[in-house]
């Protein structure tokens, strides 16, 4: 499915914010942490992710964005519990998969194959005593047990090339790689089974801006090539506006505003969205809300 050929809906104004059909629909998802007193981490969140689209999920720490992402991928573990709502994955084959109903073997088959995830701080989640080859091959050993060894090795090398890492690095251990390279390896791992959806939870937050830029560009390039959809989670609203097609803003477990990035940027409706936007002083524009009172007075030395 090529996202660029999809139908343009009426509300879309830009040529390139074309949307395909939905690939993941979540309706009224509520997630609770069963502690005392219970914490309602996600309340009635509904999102629709379209094929090939980048959906930005913005919000501050504690707003429930990671919990929601875990819920979509059925990764919640006690005390977190999905108390309501439905998550449906619309497979490329045409079949609809009820994600909430999956268990055991069917769940294992679903995860990573259809929806993969790049975890928060994932560059530190590589196993330090296994080389990259072994960790990448692990995915195939589990999900494609019939794959031949040579085939597996070739695919691992191909994956690294895809994310811009020299395949010679397959024999490297994580500590021999820079943070940016480790992050790329994690993305390669998430790409391994050619998923239709990738959930990226703060994939670049711990990285330097220049490295971050390289990785974002890589993600965008891969999306054009492979056509997967992305749920991109971060608190960095300017970045989201720059790269995503649509944005959902979360506050205290609820999605308070959802719309095309341009609309969120130019005409934010919810006061919280406006506040979040004004938290980022403009790099090149006017000073805006941020008035540094001390500047002029002490200026002349």
């Amino acid at each position: 499915m090529n996202p660029t050929n999809a139908v343009t809906t009426t509300e879309v104004t830009r040529r390139d914010t074309v949307m395909g059909e939905p690939v993941l629909t979540a309706r009224d998802v509520s997630i609770e942490y069963e502690v005392d007193p219970p914490v309602k981490a996600v309340r009635g969140a509904s999102i629709t992710l379209h094929r090939g689209e980048i959906l930005g999920l913005a919000g501050e720490s504690g707003c429930g964005k990671t919990t929601l992402a875990y819920g979509l991928n059925r990764l919640l573990k006690a005390p977190a519990l999905m108390t309501g709502g439905e998550v449906v994955f619309h497979d490329a084959s045409g079949a609809d998969i009820d994600v909430v109903a999956l268990d055991g073997e069917s769940l294992r088959r679903f995860r990573w194959d259809k929806v993969s995830m790049v975890f928060q701080g994932s560059m530190n989640s590589l196993n330090p005593v296994m080389n990259v080859r072994k960790q990448l091959a692990d995915v195939f050993l589990t999900h494609r047990p019939k794959m031949k060894r040579a085939e597996r090795d070739a695919r691992c090398a191909e994956l690294l090339t895809l994310v811009g890492v020299d395949p010679a690095r397959l024999s490297s251990f994580p500590h021999e790689l820079s943070g940016g390279m480790r992050q790329r390896v994690m993305i390669a791992m998430a790409l391994a089974l050619d998923p239709q959806v990738m959930i990226m939870d703060e994939p670049t937050t711990a990285l330097d801006v220049v490295v971050q830029r390289g990785i974002i560009r890589e993600i965008m390039r891969l999306r054009e090539r492979l056509g997967f959809a992305v749920i991109f989670i971060t608190h960095d609203l300017p970045l989201l506006i720059e790269i995503s097609d649509r944005i959902a803003v979360m506050l205290e477990g609820e999605i308070i505003e959802q719309g095309a990035s341009e609309q969120i940027y130019r005409n934010p409706e919810h006061p919280y969205t406006r506040r979040l936007l004004s938290s980022f002083p403009s790099l090149r524009g006017e000073r805006g809300d941020f008035i540094r009172t001390g500047a002029a007075a002490g200026g002349a030395a």
Partner: protein, 282 residues
């Protein structure tokens, strides 16, 4: 006006040709890492210098040298035009004037002690003449000044009972407690939630104006560097590759590296451009 006291003596904190080398050992091999190469700048009262660069560029090493947590390999740090002490009573005096605000308010406060302790201790150390009551009053006053009021409700809490932003306010109050004239702020807001970052920076700017503080603001965020400082120094691999008035550096960068940094910063005005670029074979 600023920059000199009444007697015409300079009231500045100056870094002159600072160099820091680290010896790295891996097995029998020893190699030298030049973390900071010949860096000079002068902090003046009421003015802010922003030090920007990627991690590993040496900006935190500079902060640590200025706070005397690290000894320079060569070069000197001059306070009010005089060579600053490296030990003993001279160092204590230096620390009264130059204080640091650390990046992570979750680890810079001792979880065992109440907030009051964090403010009273520097007061006692640097002003041994104060009575217990005066120390208490000053601590309360400091809390009010960083807008943690009423002070009484915060003073007896422990760090874990405060939010990140509140903790960083405590860290700022702690830095002010000895009566500091210069503040070294090493990424003071990067660990905080985005919606409270500007509040903390504005607070710092307010205090700076009231106290005529000289601030060294270390950050990787170019946007706040532009709005919060008078001068920007761009560091790359231990060297200052560009320096100048903040507006000029951001709006009209000269050095290639500054341009790369600016190019990499997220800019909502470029919405959709990256997508078009990669689509057209970038």
């Amino acid at each position: 006006m600023s920059g000199h006291d009444r007697a015409g003596e300079p009231t500045t904190l100056e870094a002159r040709n600072l160099v820091k080398d680290f010896r790295l050992r891996s097995g029998v091999n020893v190699r030298t890492l030049h973390a900071v190469k010949d860096v000079s700048f002068t902090l003046e009262p009421g003015r802010t210098i922003a030090l920007v660069g990627e991690s590993g560029s040496g900006k935190s090493t500079i902060a640590r040298m200025m706070a005397k947590l690290e000894t320079p390999s060569s070069g000197e740090i001059l306070l009010d035009g005089r060579q600053s002490a490296t030990r003993g009573r001279g160092l204590a005096r230096y620390r009264r004037d130059v204080q640091m605000v650390f990046q992570d308010p979750f680890s810079s406060l001792n979880p065992f002690h109440p907030i009051r302790h964090h403010l009273e201790r520097p007061l006692r150390i640097h002003h041994p003449g104060l009575s217990s009551r005066q120390v208490r009053e000053r601590a309360d006053e400091l809390l009010e000044r960083v807008r943690l009021s009423p002070a009484a409700t915060f003073a007896d809490r422990r760090p874990h009972e405060l939010s990140g932003g509140q903790r960083q306010r405590v860290a700022i109050a702690r830095a002010l407690a000895p009566g500091a004239r210069f503040i070294i702020a090493d990424e003071p807001v990067s660990m905080l939630d985005v919606s409270i970052r500007l509040g903390v920076l504005n607070l710092l700017a307010d205090l700076q104006r009231q106290e005529n503080l000289g601030v060294l603001y270390i950050t990787h965020d170019l946007a706040t560097a532009r709005h919060f400082s008078d001068e920007i120094l761009v560091m790359y691999r231990g060297e200052i590759v560009e320096r100048g008035p903040s507006e000029r550096v951001i709006l009209d960068p000269q050095h290639e590296y500054t341009k790369t940094l600016l190019e990499a910063a997220a800019d909502p005005d470029r919405l959709g451009r990256l997508r078009d670029e990669v689509r057209n074979g970038g």
